[in-house]
């Protein structure tokens, strides 16, 4: 793995190394406790009755037979949850409408997708709960359904919500539809832009809904006490957000709900929302006993958020010299059964990597009878990038320009404009392109039926609210705590930043994730924000500790604090004039904590801004079997600007992992529905995520253009890597067999049909 390092001033001792993670041993010995691994004495098991219909009015639910079954302790329906006003609150992209959210947790008037929860039963054993579920009698009025986004947008489409008026259209439509929202980001004069182009290409694309595919199904355990205090063990990407949603949906005060962060078995965005938690809490309150819920894999596919499928049209105009002069995009996204697809991100990210004077980017958020979409790694960006980066490939070919060089010519840098307004404030994109141009394999000749494709991707990395605490133990060792779930090594990166700041060995720092009662608020582990925002909180807390350590040392030396400096883990006199003092280690100062003011520890909170976006540029070599349409990945190289790698291996691991998810998205993953609107591949056998034997070693190139807003230059690394692969592979297939694939997945039947169509 090669590394480009650009103007890194500080010399790092531990930051940028790859030590063993603090939570490693429990995770290789089976001792780490994930969501399903908790149990309590007297615990009940809950099972969920789900709708067999894609769209149906619920006429009646009769639970009498189920309740009569020995061992059944309680049953809840959607109506057992408090009602919420119909109102969109919060940031536009994730505007929450609790009237919708409570209905997504459990259906009320209508079942809006196959797998929609209708009732939940708590019983003394899982088998009894399952038996009871089969005894619940539901009368449905089956309604016509719509699955595809284009069908859902038709004027005569069956309506999921009879009163949904499209937002973002002036004047507001009078007729209801399945179109929840229209949005647009525009700049310049699009018509004049295209008029000035030498080459214009317009193409339409479709992508399938794909699931995050985390290996751990959603699971939780709730214990609700007679005193109204509730404890919840849940595997999520953010236990503070689980607490907020669950409290609101169940109708309790946040202070009465304590959420323990179980280890999380993968999330990729899909565990930033709640599904089973509110049901478990309500059932526990109803029965007075602890209640455990474990989803099965089929439940996960049918009832938790995949990311949107889409229909898109993209038009781009360029000059002969490769300059992009105009770009237009129309992005129609499946939101699932409730509004809230990532279409806004898609419209913003679509053309973000390029300097384009004239842009019009329009998005539609459309409901249909599918599970509600949830965030998935760089939500929205990979979808629009598939269209944009494919069209750019066609244009590069038309003007006879190397596709990387064409991207480099138009690459944004600090000061470049964006379609949504403010100027870009960071470099990094051009550096990722250059890293591939310099790659020894990029110009390597290819064999028969082989092709090479490139693509790039953009993602807004996140900042936001985080809290961290740092305490110096009596023996001078250090314990740090944050409220950010560790999805892939963040305990290690937090410990590395703390060790670097304090000037102590990594091994002397214990790094933990604390429950909601033991540390301040942390937003979700998502948006590539943790190493950035929570990292800033950790460093700020360490700096407070250092300030205090200097004070303690000054007391021990009977001097003024200004005469004490902290360096390499020791308090030292600022210069010899202060006195001839032996440097004081953490251990020495900790030993005197009692007489110098008591325990040494601080918490720091931040609402971190100044985050820098992530750019990734990738090339892939494929071989296509012209007789079967099978696509084999021969080589995959991904360069990403990470700002600064804190834990080098886990940083590279994010890039490799994102690329492989992108390979699955490109080639095989898709939600397949039958004519009745039922999902026909709700399992890992037919929902085909890549297996080890499908892949070569993926090469990650860490490009490091530090972000000055972070003490170590971090930009965030989790998401930008999944943006380019679909287009890169489509471009490689075209290069191999001369066929342009415009629909995902590019499965063997589709590729073969394209080849045979000639």
């Amino acid at each position: 793995m090669l590394t480009n390092t650009k103007d890194i001033q500080q010399v790092m001792k531990v930051v940028g190394t790859s030590p063993v993670r603090p939570d490693g041993v429990p995770k290789v010995t089976g001792q780490a406790q994930y969501g399903a691994d908790y149990s309590l004495p007297g615990m009940l098991w809950a099972k969920i009755l789900r709708s067999p219909h894609a769209h149906a009015r619920i006429l009646s639910v009769d639970t009498s037979k189920a309740l009569a079954l020995p061992g059944v302790k309680g049953i809840i329906l959607g109506s057992d949850f408090p009602e919420h006003p119909f109102d969109y609150v919060g940031p536009e992209r994730v505007a929450q409408n609790y009237w919708h959210m409570t209905r997504n947790i459990m259906a009320r008037e209508k079942a809006l997708f196959e797998g929609h929860a209708i009732a939940a039963v708590a019983a003394t054993t899982a088998a009894i709960a399952a038996e009871a579920v089969s005894l619940i009698e539901v009368q449905y009025e089956v309604l016509p359904h719509c699955i595809d986004v284009e069908d859902a947008m038709k004027p005569d489409a069956p309506l999921l919500f009879e009163d949904m008026i499209t937002r973002g259209v002036e004047p507001a439509p009078t007729k209801p539809s399945n179109i929840s929202k229209r949005l647009e980001f525009s700049t310049g004069d699009i018509a004049a832009g295209f008029a000035s182009a030498d080459e214009v290409v317009e193409m339409s694309f479709k992508t399938a809904a794909v699931h995050q595919g985390y290996i751990e199904p959603h699971s939780c355990l709730a214990r609700y006490g007679a005193d109204g205090q509730c404890e919840l063990w849940s595997a999520s990407q953010g236990h503070f957000v689980v607490r907020a949603y669950t409290a609101k949906l169940v109708g309790m005060e946040i202070g009465n709900l304590l959420v323990h962060p179980a280890e999380i078995g993968g999330g990729f965005g899909g565990k930033t929302v709640v599904y089973v938690e509110p049901m478990a809490v309500l059932l526990s309150r109803k029965t007075g006993l602890p209640v455990k819920i474990m989803m099965g894999r089929e439940d996960v596919f049918k009832s938790t958020g995949p990311t949107s499928g889409s229909s898109m049209t993209v038009k781009i105009g360029v000059k002969k010299d490769g300059t992009i002069v105009a770009a237009e995009g129309l992005f129609k996204f499946q939101a699932g059964a409730f509004p809230g697809s990532p279409v806004m991100n898609a419209t913003m990210c679509a053309f973000a990597p390029y300097i384009i004077p004239n842009v019009k980017s329009v998005g539609f958020d459309v409901v249909s009878n599918r599970p509600k979409s949830a965030a998935y790694r760089a939500p929205g960006s990979p979808i629009s990038a598939f269209a944009v980066e494919s069209v750019l490939d066609v244009l590069a070919k038309k003007i006879g320009m190397d596709p990387l060089k064409m991207r480099l010519k138009n690459a944004v840098k600090a000061g470049s404009p964006t379609a949504w307004g403010p100027k870009h404030s960071h470099d990094g994109y051009a550096e990722t392109i250059q890293a591939l141009l310099d790659h020894p394999q990029y110009n390597k000749p290819l064999g028969k039926n082989q092709g090479r494709g490139v693509a790039s991707g953009f993602w807004f990395n996140g900042g936001g609210e985080s809290t961290a605490s740092v305490h110096i133990n009596e023996d001078g060792t250090v314990v740090i705590a944050t409220g950010s779930m560790d999805v892939g090594g963040s305990r290690a990166s937090m410990a590395l930043m703390a060790a670097e700041t304090l000037g102590v060995p990594y091994e002397s720092v214990r790094s933990t994730v604390a429950d909601t009662a033991s540390i301040g608020y942390n937003h979700v582990t998502g948006g590539s924000r943790v190493t950035y925002a929570t990292g800033i909180a950790v460093v700020e807390a360490c700096n407070k500790v250092i300030e205090d350590l200097r004070l303690r040392a000054s007391l021990m030396w009977d001097t003024d604090i200004k005469n004490v400096v902290w360096s390499d883990g020791y308090a030292k006199p600022v210069d010899p004039s202060v006195g001839n003092f032996e440097p004081l280690s953490l251990k020495a100062i900790a030993a005197k904590r009692g007489v110098t003011g008591g325990p040494i520890g601080y918490e720091a909170s931040t609402n971190a801004g100044g985050q820098a976006p992530g750019f990734s540029t990738q090339f892939v070599d494929v071989e296509v079997d012209p007789e079967t349409g099978h696509v084999k990945i021969l080589q995959f190289v991904a360069a990403q600007d990470v700002g600064r790698a804190i834990h080098r291996d886990y940083c590279a691991g994010q890039i490799v992992g994102g690329v492989v998810q992108g390979i699955g998205w490109a080639l095989n993953e898709e939600y397949i529905y039958d004519s009745k609107g039922r999902l026909s591949n709700a399992g890992f056998l037919d929902y085909r995520i890549p297996v080890a034997s499908d892949l070569p070693m993926i090469e990650a190139i860490l490009v490091e253009v530090p972000n000055p807003s972070h003490p170590f230059g971090v930009k965030g690394v989790g998401e930008a890597n999944i943006v380019p692969p679909m287009a890169a592979i489509a471009n490689a297939i075209e290069n191999a067999v001369g066929r342009r694939m415009t629909e995902l997945p590019m499965s063997p039947p589709r590729v073969l049909a394209a080849i045979d169509a000639g």
Partner: protein, 290 residues
């Protein structure tokens, strides 16, 4: 709650008697790789589950009359580890080696793969091509049936109530014989055949094909024996023309459906492609076998 009985009979006759004596649904449990999934989902609620892995004759892999006797409860890994069998029937090994994953192959059995009657079962076309004979025990004693006569549609077999397959006999190989099984799946492993082709052939001393059997999987409601495809090879040196005719015959015999795993058109074309490739593989093996 419904009672489920679990029994581990020691003889095939005892197993047969238990089934015959059970009014409700009884299921034979060998590898369990399909039955466990169906029981978990609630699709199947058997009254009796019979673990037949303790029946000695269902676990043998033994030479018999120059051929092989393979117990119906032999799992794929046991078969793969038997180098002598693998040398004689590499095509059957091709199939066994493609079932599920290592974990699944450690449980899944030849009898289970056949009696589960999935049109895409990976060991079945190879067994049919090999001319394997199933030995069946039932209330009326024992009978022998060619493997191709067992599947009767998705999830259905021609076995009568109380009947179970005890073992398979694979006949002795003539010189210059070779077999092969190829399947198409989107993934390299952990997948279900979209198309499968089992093919066995024998050459005379001049390299002319004297005997061939071709079987297609996943292109109909059951694995098919396709004599027209075999006929395209017999009497030829398995040259380019013969291979083209074979491919055409295989495609012509395919009568697939569109489903989540593949389209009709895809399966018809790929059936021909894989038949040709399987023939080339079997031919190479035949020429290597003197």
């Amino acid at each position: 709650m419904m009672e489920m009985r679990f029994e581990t009979p020691k003889t095939a006759e005892a197993a047969s008697a238990l089934i015959a004596a059970t009014a409700g649904l009884s299921k034979i449990f060998s590898g369990g790789t399909d039955l466990m999934v169906h029981m978990r989902s609630g699709n199947i609620k058997p009254e009796l589950v019979l673990d037949i892995k303790s029946i000695a004759e269902m676990n043998v892999i033994a030479v018999e009359n120059g051929g092989y006797r393979v117990g119906a409860a032999v799992n794929c890994m046991q078969l793969l580890e038997n180098t002598a069998f693998a040398a004689m029937w590499p095509g059957v090994i091709d199939g066994a080696n493609l079932v599920g994953s290592i974990q699944v192959r450690g449980r899944a059995t030849l009898g289970g793969n056949l009696c589960n009657a999935s049109p895409g079962a990976d060991t079945v076309p190879a067994m049919i091509a090999a001319g394997a004979i199933a030995s069946i025990v039932g209330p009326n004693g024992r009978r022998e049936v060619p493997v191709e006569q067992i599947p009767a549609g998705p999830g259905k077999t021609s076995l009568a109530k109380g009947e179970l397959i005890v073992s398979f006999f694979l006949p002795e190989r003539a010189p210059h014989s070779g077999d092969a099984y190829l399947r198409f799946t989107p993934r390299t492993e952990m997948d279900i055949a979209v198309v499968g082709v089992g093919l066995s052939l024998t050459l005379d001393d001049n390299g002319v094909c004297t005997h061939a059997r071709v079987s297609l999987g996943a292109v109909a409601d059951r694995a098919l024996l396709v004599p027209e495809a075999a006929a395209a090879l017999i009497g030829t040196t398995v040259d380019a023309v013969a291979l083209a005719n074979l491919a055409a015959a295989a495609s012509a015999a395919a009568r697939p459906i569109d489903d989540k795993r593949g389209t009709k058109a895809f399966r018809i074309k790929v059936a021909g492609v894989l038949a040709r490739r399987a023939a080339e593989k079997a031919l190479a093996r035949a020429k290597g076998n003197n």
